[in-house]
Symmetry: C2
Subunit: 194 residues, 2 copies
DNA sequence: TCCGGCATGTAGACACTGTCTACCAGACGC
DNA sequence: GCGTCTGGTAGACAGTGTCTACATGCCGGA
């Protein structure tokens, strides 16, 4: 009742987002998306010349959703930077683990037209937020905040990936994410005052 | 002149390792491996019932190579723990970046028989080395060394991945890996004394 | 020496994929 | 009414992983 005639291009993306969140990247074949959209397998070609471009459009939707989720979690941004970084990290990891298929797609650069469509740049605004929060939270002198933000982002990314795979659960023995998240933030921000 | 008659099973793995390091995971099709091994596309089935199992065997070779590289770098292990962790981190990242295809394969769990063949466990010995070095390097009291090791590993893993993709180069603006590596170690081990 | 089994690889079918090309129905301006 | 163009269909093609039927050669026992 809501995707009536929204244009095939939009419906293909919508179907793809639904499919990847529900069944994972394996099901994201061109023909399967076309089938679920109720069109022939050649139809998507009018809007997406290649399979990769359709997947890139779906992934871009994922980056948008992640950005929305993070800004929603950050709220008005009046909390102190350290608390905001905690919220941001939690929101990031929760998104990755709640939408594993989509998160995997977003970083499967072999499935995406990474260079041509500026998909890597899709995570830039989020990155700038981290840089800003880190500088306001205070860094040791002589530390480039972009380096620190990159390392922190890499830590969250690796954590999400290893956790989704079950490796961390295997090695640390813990079944909870919270202590890991706390350890990440303490490592990069120094120990909590108080 | 050296892989004469080494048994098809071994040769398939060898060809696969060569192929993935030279051309990446995309070229690791069952039929291509068989072609390069000089056999028909049905032959591998005698030794690997499914494509995933062949890929898993190739990935296991990668874990072995990574382990060998790391232990070689660590040497006799007489340096202090912090220096050893630095060498370990450097060796890990250098391996990941020198063998991108293989490293990607090792963590593409959708291509591997992750549960059935204990492939996740292949990284366990390396993980235990990190736990040991971290405890000897000294941690703040109340910190589970396994948690700390997991977080550190996640950081290295995420760094390798984002760097291989070019995202970090894009965000941090730097074209060198060294400051990132130093930042990682300083974050997790505290600032260098002296 | 022959012979039955067994291991090992071949060849072809099947369903599936992404891409490409020829076609076709319908709307729209003139 | 007619040409044109947009948006979708249908089928071909090469490639993939899996499965099955078949050939071939080797080895142990009579």
């Amino acid at each position: 009742m809501h995707e009536e005639d929204a244009g095939l291009r939009a419906r293909l993306i919508e179907v793809g987002v639904d499919l990847v969140t529900r069944e994972g990247t394996q099901s994201l074949t061109l023909r399967e998306i076309a089938r679920r959209a109720g069109v022939s397998h050649g139809a998507p070609r009018r809007y997406f010349p290649t399979h990769l471009e359709l997947l890139s459009a779906i992934a871009r939707e994922g980056f948008a959703a992640l950005g929305a989720e993070v800004t929603r979690a950050l709220g008005d941004g009046r909390a102190d930077p350290r608390a905001q970084l905690t919220t941001l990290g939690r929101a990031y990891l929760e998104f990755a683990l709640a939408n594993r298929g989509m998160y995997e797609l977003m970083f499967r650069h072999d499935l995406l037209e990474s260079d041509h469509l500026g998909l890597r740049e899709a995570s830039l605004p989020l990155f700038h937020v981290v840089v800003d929060l880190l500088t306001r939270a205070g860094l040791r002198s002589g530390v480039d905040p972009r380096i620190a933000a990159g390392v922190l982002w890499a830590n969250a990314h690796g954590l999400a990936q290893l956790w989704a795979w079950g490796s961390l659960q295997l090695t640390t023995g813990s079944a909870e994410l919270e202590p890991l998240l706390r350890a990440v933030l303490e490592a990069h921000l120094g120990q909590e005052p108080q």
